[in-house]
Amino acid sequence: MTSVWASWITLLSPLAAALAITLAGTSLSRRVAGIVATTGTSVAFVAAVVAFVDLLGEDGEQRSHLDTAWTWLAAGNFRIGVEILVDPLSVFMMLVVSGVGSLIVAYSLGYMDGDDEERRFFAYMALFVFSMLLLVQGGNLLMMLLGWGLVGLSSYLLIGFHHERPSAIAAAKKAFIMNAFGDATFALALFLLIAHNRSLSFDALGEIDGASSTVRNLVALGLLGGAVAKSAQLPLHTWLPDAMEGPTPVSALIHAATMVTAGVYLIVRAHEVFEAAWVVQNLAAIIGAVTLLVAGLIALVQTDIKRVIAYSTMSQIGYMFLGAGLGAYANAMFHLMTHAFFKALLFLAAGVVIHALAGEQDMRRMGGLKRLMPFTYWCFLIGALALVGIPPLAGFFSKDSILAAALDRGALGAILFSIGIVGTFLTGLYTFRMLYLVFHGPRSVFVSEHHHRYHGREGPATMLVPVAVLAALSVVGGWLQFAGVWTPVTDFLDPVAEQIAEANTWKEILASVLAVALGICGMLVAWAMYSARSWRVPSWRPVRRVLEEKLYWDRLYDWIFYIPASWSGRAIMRWFERPVIAGSAIGIGVGARESGELASEVQTGYLRAYALAIAAGLAVLVLVFISVK
C-alpha cells in the first residue's frame, strides 16, 4: 500500500534527521545541521502528499489502513502494537504538521543563524516534528500517548533552549509540569478504557457505550483533561504565555500551529467517547468558549508582541474546542488547518521584526515600521485579516462555520454563539491594536536607533520565503471549503468523524454576517484608539489591573500549589530529611569510627596485658569445655 509506506517515511524521516544531527555532533557544521533538519521535514511532507494522493484514489469507506510494525505489549488477549493508522484524519494532520513544520524549520535557518547551539536546536526541532507525527499517526491510544509525551518533552527542551536564562528554564518547567498533569488524566482514562474495553485501538472506542455513565464520564473527562493541558485552555492555560521564552520559530511551530492543537485532534479522534458522555462534550465546548473570551480580554493589555499572539492562539483554540465540543468535527479541523497557516505567519512575521530590531519584543518601543519593512507589513496584515476572519481570507471560512454550528444546538448553543461573536470583536480589537502599535505611527526613537537591515533587505531569504508562502496559504487556504456550498473537507473527514452539528444555510449566513461585522467593528475601534488617536484608550485602572495580572490565575496557582508544596518541602527537609536520613547515614559512619576508636583502646601495647588476656581466656575456655562435656 503506497499510502502506508509513504506514511512510514513521513514518520521516520524527521527522526532520522534528528538522530543524524545528534550522532554527527560537531562534525556537521551548524548550517549543514539546519539543512539536514529541513530536508528531513520536507521529505516527510512530500511523503505525506504521496500518501494523501494515494488515499484519494480509494473509495470513502476503504480509506483506513492500520499497519503494525510489531507487537509491543501482549497480555492474554490484550494486544498493543507499534502501529500507524493511515486514514483521512491522520493524513490531514500529517499534511498540516509536516507542511507547516518544514516551512518553519527552513525559516529557522535564517532566524537561528549565528547561535552557538544551532545544531541542538535543529535536532530538537526534528525530534519535535517526529513526535507530533507520531501523535497524529499513532494507530492506537497508547502510540498516541507516546507521541503526546514526546511532544511535551520536545516542548520542554525547546522552551528552555536558552538555558542560561532562568526565566526560560522556569517557563520550560512550568509547561512540562502542567502538561504532566494532563498526561496523568489521559493515562487514567486509558486505564479505565483497558478495564472496560480490553483494547486501546480506535475501532473499539465505541464499545464504551456499554459502560455505566460514571465510567463513560470519567474516561471522557480524563481525555479532556489531557486535551485541556496540552492545548492551554482554562484552567490549565498559564504555561502558554510563559512559553514565549523560547525562540520565535518554536513559538510558531509548537505553540501555534501544531502541539497545542493536539488536544483538538484528540477530541475529534476519540469523538465516540465524548459522544457517549455528552455532559463532558458540552463541558469541552464551554471551556472553549470561556477560554476564547478570557484570552481575548487579556490580549488587550499585553505589551509583548509574542504574548499577544500567544493569547490569540489560546483564543482560537478555544474556537476549535467549541467546535469539537458541539460535534462540528470537520469544522474544528478545518479551522485548525487555517489557523496553522495564519498563526504561523503572524509569528514568523513578528520574528522578522524582532530579528530586525535585534531581539526587542516590547511593542511600546516599536512604531513606524511600515515604511521600513513593507514586505513584512503586508504579510502581517494578511495574517491579521485572516485571523479576524475577513473574507475572502482563510479565517472567514473556517471560523464562521463553527459559530453557525453553535446555533444548531439549542439554548446552550445560543449562549456559546454569543460568546463566540463577542470573541470576534475582541479578536479584531487586539489584533489591529498590535498591528497599529508595531507598524503604524511615527517612527519611534528605539526603532530609529536599533533597526538594521540584513544585506539591504528586511531579512535573510530563508526567513522571508516561508513568510511569503504562509501568506499565500492564508489567502487561499480557506477556499477549500465554503459551508453549505462546497464541502470537500467535511466529506473527506466524514468516514472518521461524522459531523453531528450541521447548520442550514440561513444560520450560516447569519453567523458569517455577524462575525464579520463585529470583527470590522473591532478593527475600527482599534484604528480609532491606536492609529488615528481620536479616542482615548480607557484607563479603567481596576479592570486593567485584573487583565494585566492575567485574571490573577498565576497567583491562584501559586497559592494552591506552589506555596504549600515548597513549604512542606522545606519542613520535611528540616524535620525529617536532615536529622533522620542524612543523620542516620552520617551517624553510621560516625558510629563506626567511634566504636572503632573504643575497640582500639584494647590494644595498649602492653605485653603483659596481652599475656594476662591469654591466661584469662584459657581459664574461661577450660571451664567451658569442662561444663559442656
Binding site: 596485658a609 594476662l612 591466661a615 584469662a616 584459657l618 581459664a619 577450660v622 571451664l623 569442662i626 562435656k629
Partner: protein, 188 residues
Amino acid sequence: MIVVASVGNVVVWAVWFVAAFACIGSALAVVSFQNPFFSALALIGNLASLAVLYLLLNAEFVAAAQVLVYAGAVMVMFLFVVAYLGGEADAPWAGGPSWHVIGAVAAAAAILTEIVVVIGVKAGDRLSREEDIRAAFGSPAEIGRLFLTDHLLAFEVTSIVLLSAAVGGVILGHHSRRFDDPAIADRP
C-alpha cells in the same frame, strides 16, 4: 591408694617428696628473685629435681637428656647471656597489689584449680591403674626405635626446627656496623 609397706616404697616416697618440694620451691624462686642470675640458678635446680622425678617414672633416657641438654646446654646459654647483660633487676612484688598482679594471681589460680578438678573428676579411677611396663620402657633403644619408626616425621621436623633456630640465632647475633653508630643507636 594402696600403700605397700615395704622399704623400697618408703624410700621412693621419701625421694619423691624431696624432689617435689625442690621442684616447686625452685620454681617459686625463679619467679620471685630479683637478680636474674639467681633465678637462672634456681631454674637449674628445678631441672635437676625434674630429672629425679623422671627417673622415678622409669624414664631414664629422658632424665639423662634433661640434665645434659636442658640443664647442661640451655641453662649455660642463659647464664652466658645473664653475665653479658649484667643482670638488671626489677622488683616484682613491689608497689603493692595492682589490678595486674591480682588478675595474674587469679588467672594462675584458676588454671591450677581447673587442672586439678579436671583430672580428678574426669579421669580419677583410670589414673590409679598403671600398666605394667617392659624392661626396655625408658631405654634409649626404645626411644630411638620409636623415633625412627612411628614418629619419623616428628624427628625430621624437629631437626628442621633446630636448623631454623640456629639460622635465626646467627642472624640475630649478626654484628651490624650500622648500629654501632651512636647517632642512630638510641632509637626506641
